[in-house]
């Protein structure tokens, strides 16, 4: 038997796994079935909930009646490994800003050496007939700018480095 730690909106739930069966701690009678790929029917004390869960990289995205949220699924072991490696929510910092989609660079709002605040605009991209601003995920200094106004970029292309 092992346990899975599921974090939903900052709250941790423990699910014990035994021979492929999942038991929610505190609600041992709760039952969940996957009724279609990624679609789950869950019954807890007679309350029926329909959940969509799709894996996205390192976490799950859950949908439930128009609310969407990220869900983290860990075991004690993976959590310890993460802590040990110094990754996780403590130090994760985005220093490389990538294009989220193929787009046209409409404006570069910073230059190398600029100090930026969290939430400050960095680059304006145009895609799908809309202009979109990429913002700094944390305060820092712009180390390098790799694009200029008028350039076309592909999805995942490196735009600038932040420190």
């Amino acid at each position: 038997m092992s346990a899975v730690l599921v974090t939903v909106q900052g709250r941790e739930h423990v699910v014990e796994v035994e021979n492929g069966r999942c038991i929610l701690q505190g609600n041992p009678d709760a039952s969940a079935v996957e009724i279609a790929p990624g679609v789950f029917s869950v019954i807890i004390n007679g309350i029926s909930v329909r959940v969509l869960a799709s894996r996205q990289g390192e976490s799950f995205t859950a949908h439930c009646e128009g609310v969407v949220g990220e869900v983290l699924v860990e075991t004690e072991r993976t959590r310890l490994l993460k802590r040990y490696a110094g990754v996780g929510d403590v130090v994760a910092r985005k220093t490389e800003i990538y294009a989220p989609m193929p787009a046209l660079i409409v404006k570069v709002e910073v230059k190398a050496g600029d100090s930026v605040e969290k939430g400050q605009g960095l680059v304006i991209l145009e895609a799908m007939k809309m202009e979109n601003e990429l913002k700094a995920t944390h305060a820092g200094v712009v180390k390098k700018v790799l694009v200029e106004k008028g350039m076309k970029v592909e999805k995942g292309e490196l735009l600038l480095l932040l420190e």
Binding site: N19, E34, G38, F60, V67, V73, M128
Partner: protein, 500 residues
């Protein structure tokens, strides 16, 4: 109706192409789709009777290629071209070329499109017909000094607008003389890059206004009617998100007056076919002409649900030279309709478009729900076109019931693979001020921020925890034969940190 058309080419894509095809099919008219390389797999292609490739993905090289599209229509033996909305729908030259090729253009005459397309010309035309407009410059403003003179005369705030087009491009609100020069130049350059025309004009800016538009319909015999209003004040960066009919501020007297004014504006440019007159309405219910959209609107379904009419069928009817089949007093409005535009965008990340493949899609259904959509499960949201996935429309006898129906439908709507603005739509529908009808075009800007979105309830959190634990264990299977399922954690969970 006495239809002569046998085959119609739809010069558009997505939900509106399918919308037009549905009516054509009901009328026994064959349909011709066109598609770019990005859209070969799209349902508008598979649902048409005939389909032809028109070019590479960018609109400029496909859906905006006038000669290519007309050539396809000719080769396919189509009698008419329906432009939908966007793309070539408000291009006077295209309307002219279609007629020149001996085909019917399912829309207004080219001269009406041209007159209403130039925003200062449109202002002059409707003013002369007695339609109220906001104080503004009589034409494009030649210099900063002229602009500043207007500001000195009328006071701030003032709105700088592009003469050649709408959609928020080249638009700037100016609140003081100090800002004027910078904003003026910025608006000019924005207008130039968006429309190839840097001319701008000025209008007095009203702070707390609603956007209310009237659907009109005109035949070639001088008969023009209105089909009531649509309230479109819920906007984000000048893009409509939620539309409804009737408007909460409307009275029968005001509807009659504004409807009559809308008909006057349409007649001022010799309009034929379906069109929309947009008005700004202030807190004292004074209304001012904003612009005319010389095409079918995205939000036309709310009018269809409240009038019981098929606007596309009526467009085809009058395009063939038939008179309108009813008079103004025969049009009855019933119930309340509300539409949400479901778009592929990330509401928590500055509304960044979300492209990619739709993994799971189960739309809302049931009594009182209409859904117009151009993509299916497994389909992609291409980066080349707009991000709208679906138009979800609810109808009920009253507004309160329609709101509850829409709330239920939004909760029911399932889509994964791309992020959508469903949480934003739910935010609006559930907002007490929206429900009370107390809102203006500033509603979203003033009320919405991602941290105001509700989270999961406690029971939902538990259910999600159990479902995700099951999903994490399930995705590890199938395990190699002879092993039990317990290896899943080493097989998968260690990868949780891995890059997607």
């Amino acid at each position: 109706m006495n239809l002569r058309l046998r085959k119609v080419l739809i010069a558009n894509r997505g939900e509106i192409a399918i919308r037009v095809m549905r009516t054509c099919r009901e009328l026994g008219i064959r349909t011709v789709a066109v598609y770019s390389d990005a859209d070969r797999n799209m349902p508008h292609v598979a649902r048409a009777d005939e389909a032809y490739r028109i070019g590479p993905p960018p609109s400029r090289e496909s859906y905006l290629q006038m000669e290519t599209i007309i050539d396809v229509a000719r080769r396919a033996g189509a009698d008419a071209i329906h432009p939908g909305y966007g793309f070539l729908s408000e291009n006077a030259r295209f309307a002219e070329m279609v007629a020149g090729a001996g085909l019917l253009f399912v829309g207004p005459p080219a001269r009406s499109i041209a007159a209403m397309g130039d925003k200062t010309e449109a202002r002059r035309l409707v003013q002369a017909a007695g339609v109220p407009t906001l104080p503004g410059t009589s034409g494009p403003v030649g210099s900063e000094a002229d602009g500043m003179a207007f500001c000195a005369l009328h006071g701030f705030p003032v709105l700088i607008k592009a003469a050649a087009g709408g959609g928020g491009k080249g638009m700037r609100v100016v609140r003081s003389m100090e800002e004027f020069a910078t904003s003026f130049r910025a608006a000019q350059s924005e207008a130039l890059s968006a429309f190839g025309d840097g001319r701008v004009f000025l209008e007095k800016f009203l702070e707390n206004t609603r956007h209310i538009e009237f659907q009109i319909l005109a035949d070639a015999f001088g008969s023009t009617v209105h089909l009531g209003e649509r309230e479109c004040s819920i906007q984000r960066r000048h893009q409509k998100v939620v539309e409804e009919s009737p408007s909460v501020v409307m009275t029968e007297e005001l509807r009659e007056e504004m409807g009559r004014t809308a008909v006057m504006a349409a007649k001022a440019c010799g309009y034929v076919n379906a069109g929309t007159i947009e008005f700004l309405v202030d807190e004292d219910l004074h209304y001012y002409f904003l612009e005319m959209n010389t095409r079918l609107q995205v939000e036309h379904p709310v009018t269809e649900l409240c009038t019981g009419l098929d606007l596309v069928a009526l467009q085809l009817h009058v395009a063939q030279g038939n008179p309108l089949p009813f008079r103004q007093e025969e049009i009855a409005f019933r119930g309340h309709a509300i539409e949400c535009r479901i778009c592929a965008e990330d509401v928590e990340n500055n509304f960044m478009p979300s492209t990619g493949k739709i993994l799971h899609l189960r739309p809302a259904q049931g009594p009182g729900i209409r859904e117009d959509r151009g993509v299916e499960e497994g389909g992609e949201i291409p980066v080349f076109y707009d991000s709208m996935i679906s138009k979800l429309v609810a109808w009920a006898p009253g507004r309160g019931e329609a709101l509850r129906k829409m709330e239920r439908a939004l909760e029911e709507y399932e889509i994964t693979g791309v992020k959508t603005n469903i949480p934003l739509c739910l935010f609006v529908i559930r907002h007490p001020e929206f429900a009370a009808g107390r809102f203006s075009t500033r509603f979203l800007g003033e009320n919405f921020s991602p941290d105001r979105l509700p989270g999961f309830s406690e029971i939902q959190q538990k259910a999600i925890a159990l479902a995700c634990a099951l999903a994490a264990t399930r995705t590890a299977t199938p395990a190699p034969a002879g092993r039990d399922g317990r290896d899943w954690k080493s097989a998968r969970l260690l990868n949780l940190r891995g890059k997607p």
